[in-house]
């Protein structure tokens, strides 16, 4: 698939004139057509070049190698129905809604203008907003395979994550049968997507937990400025870029012959809610902060180097420096694609912000990706003094939705597959 970004924006509307009897307002907005339909799905005052749509269809799901958007709304769901046909129908309904929303269109018959006695199909808060590079990515957790007689189809690579030293899991932020990752440059577009999918899912699935992320901490576009995490450091300097086809193939996408045919073209996602003790971090000297990471705070250059993208000399870093421990060269080449977001969820009730990193990592096999890396980090990382893993989930991310007749999870759930 190509992570299409930059296809002509269809904008958040369908180009259907309705009523108005030829009442032309003219192309009032800059470069854009103005149309307003009675069904209310589609109001876009300015079809500009920004806020474009990302193609929903492809060999891989969008939202993985796609250039990282600014905002996140992530939700984990539990399956409530034991009727497989009903669940499959919901996946098809979700797929259609996702197809529409990622294209900047409203769900179903739109947000207003329909039958007065019925609640509108779409909840409406994204009317008038651009597609904003919305991507929606679905995943299936280990517990999902206990349902619908799917035990035999659970990929070996989808292991339950072991307990790592120092973690303090909140069960209400852990696990889930399904997940949806919604990424967008506009937070309201991301929230709208999760909200509408949750609504379509009532009776079939229920929200287990959800997480908002306000700022990206990794990028898959190396030419762009590397974003910073809440500790003030550049994060993901050496991340896999969306254009690095070979590295994506090697480290991210499940290949043919990896053991689970229905996952070919998919990936595995580890989500970790990592609380940062930002108040104590902020009282730490600059020297120690830089020692902890193994990079300088301003430029992001590795210890002893001048530029951010200079090749790190790991031995120059402290033995417990984060970059040194996490670097592929220290881990037999292990590489994961990071896509995390910073979060703050109010306070912890002790006068401190409940803040941190919602870590999202994609990989070809969790057993050869996150698990060995986190074993090492949880044992030795100097950063552990300032962070704690408090939420966790792992999901099998199926391959992409190929075309308009395809649907999320087809390769897993279709009978003949």
């Amino acid at each position: 698939m190509t992570e299409t970004q930059g296809t002509a924006s269809p904008s958040r509307r369908a180009l259907i004139g309705w009523g108005g009897a030829g009442l032309a307002l003219g192309a009032a907005a800059a470069g854009g057509a103005v149309a307003m339909t009675r069904t209310g799905n589609d109001v876009d005052p300015a079809g500009s070049a920004t806020g474009v749509a990302v193609d929903f269809h492809g060999a891989h799901q969008a939202g993985i190698a796609t250039p990282v958007q600014d905002r996140l709304h992530f939700a984990a769901f539990d399956v409530k129905t034991d009727d497989r046909a009903e669940f499959v129908q919901m996946l098809k309904d979700w797929t259609e809604a996702a197809r529409r929303m990622t294209a900047g269109r409203a769900v179903g018959d739109g947000a207003f203008g329909g039958l007065a006695e019925a609640p509108p199909d779409d909840t409406g808060e994204a009317v008038g907003l651009k597609p904003s590079r919305l991507t929606l990515t679905i995943g299936f957790g280990p517990s999902f395979f206990e349902k619908f007689g799917l035990a035999g189809r659970r990929p070996e690579a989808l292991v339950d994550l072991p307990r790592f030293p120092g973690e303090n899991m909140d069960t209400s932020r852990t696990g889930g049968d399904l997940c949806i990752q919604a990424c967008s440059d506009d937070p309201q577009v991301a929230v709208h997507a999760i909200r509408n999918l949750a609504r379509i899912g009532f009776g079939k699935v229920a929200v287990r937990w959800s997480q908002l992320g306000f700022g990206k901490t990794s990028s898959t576009t190396p030419d762009a400025q590397t974003p910073r995490n809440l500790m003030g450091f550049k994060d993901g300097t050496r991340n896999i870029a969306g254009t690095e086809t070979d590295r994506l193939k090697k480290f991210v996408w499940v290949g043919e012959g990896d053991g689970t045919d229905w996952m070919t073209g998919g990936s595995y996602l580890v989500a970790r809610r990592i609380r940062m003790n930002i108040e104590t971090w902020d009282r730490t000297s600059l020297q120690e902060q830089e020692d902890v990471f193994g990079r300088d705070k301003g430029e992001g250059a590795p210890v002893g180097k001048a530029k951010e993208h200079d090749e790190p000399f790991l031995k120059a870093m402290k033995p417990d420096a984060h970059v040194r421990l996490a670097h592929p060269d220290s881990n037999g080449g292990i590489t994961i694609l990071r896509r995390g977001y910073s979060f703050t969820d109010g306070t912890d009730g002790l006068g401190r912000l409940d803040a941190g990193l919602f870590f999202l990592a994609y990989q070809r096999d969790v057993r050869k990706g996150f698990i060995p890396l986190q074993r090492k980090l949880s044992a030795s990382d100097a950063l552990n003094e300032y962070i704690q893993h408090v939420g966790s989930a792992v999901f099998a991310i199926p391959p992409g939705v190929r075309d308009k007749d395809d649907w999320w999870g087809r390769t897993l759930l279709t009978e003949e597959a």
């Binding site: 259907i16 309705w18 057509a33 307003m36 006695e117 009532f202």
Partner: protein, 377 residues
Amino acid sequence: MRAVRLTVTAAATVAALTAITACTAKSDAKDGDAIQVTAADSKCDTSAKSTPAGQVTLQIENKGSRATEVEILFPDDRIVSEKENIGPGTKYTLTAEVKAGSYEIACRPGMKGHGVRQKLTVTGGSAAERNPKLDKAVADYRQYAQDQADETLPRVETFAKAVKDGDLEAAKKAYATSRIGWERTEPVAESFGDIDPKVDTRADGLEQGQKWTGWHRLEKALWEDKKIGDEEKTLADQLVTDLKDWQQRVGKAEITPTSMANGAKELLDEVATGKVTGEEDRYSHTDLVDFKANVEGAQKAYELLKPVASTNDAALTTELDKQFAALNTLLDKYRTDPAQYDFVSYDKVTKDQRKELSDNVNALAEPLSKLAAAVVK
């Protein structure tokens, strides 16, 4: 029910760009039938004094200097349909389904006062075709609402007597069951506006200067303060008086198939916002009794509308049957005898159990929100 207003379809100003889209005329427009309403600061001119029943369209223009409000009113001033805040120099199209009868069109310059009125006679019945199945559903539901009120009064009198006897335990025992009939048909009672605040207001729902009366005031005395004083005895009498008022008025409530369907949904809303959270009966923790009664009332309205709804949308009624059954089965886990309203105290219901109840309420309420459309289409 709150939903005494009939169907309103506000046709938004619609504009389409010719360069991209083919412009088609509005196929179902009946412009010739529209009534022109010209509102000004001291007048309200209408282009017609009578119109056939069915969809009535008002094309309103405010030529006055102040924002105005235009309403179609029943003879008793109940609102059929309205549009507020029509600014000076602006136009608005108001559409409503209106049955045959006598009405008034009111323009209220400045959006207050009696306004300037014009008579409107809605003639015939050809457009407002009556569905005998729906007429029966409404009549049966009205009877149900009356029965609930009739059955509630003796229970409330038992409760009130216990309070007046100063018998704390007997009063606690009678509290939850005295509410069942009310909870089953609450949207009907709420449609009167003045009874609900007197009998069913919670401490947090009080307005500035409002005296706290009714069930929850007594609930607090019984469970939290654990004492009955003269004030409580007076309030017990007043509760009976206020509920007798309800009993007298239930039969005159405006009930339509749409308001029945919306009322069913509203009962689930009540469960979702008040009972699942444990806010409704925060002192007695008898929330599950109210919960069950809300579901029963919603189910009754649904069952009465089902003959029509199942014809229009069979998939919806199949889903509703399934979800009502699932929620009732779940609720039964919280009582030993399905014939008794002896539910587990809600403070004993765990967080995970509350989530399960909430998930099941969502599973039912979402399709239930589509019932009204299935009834009218």
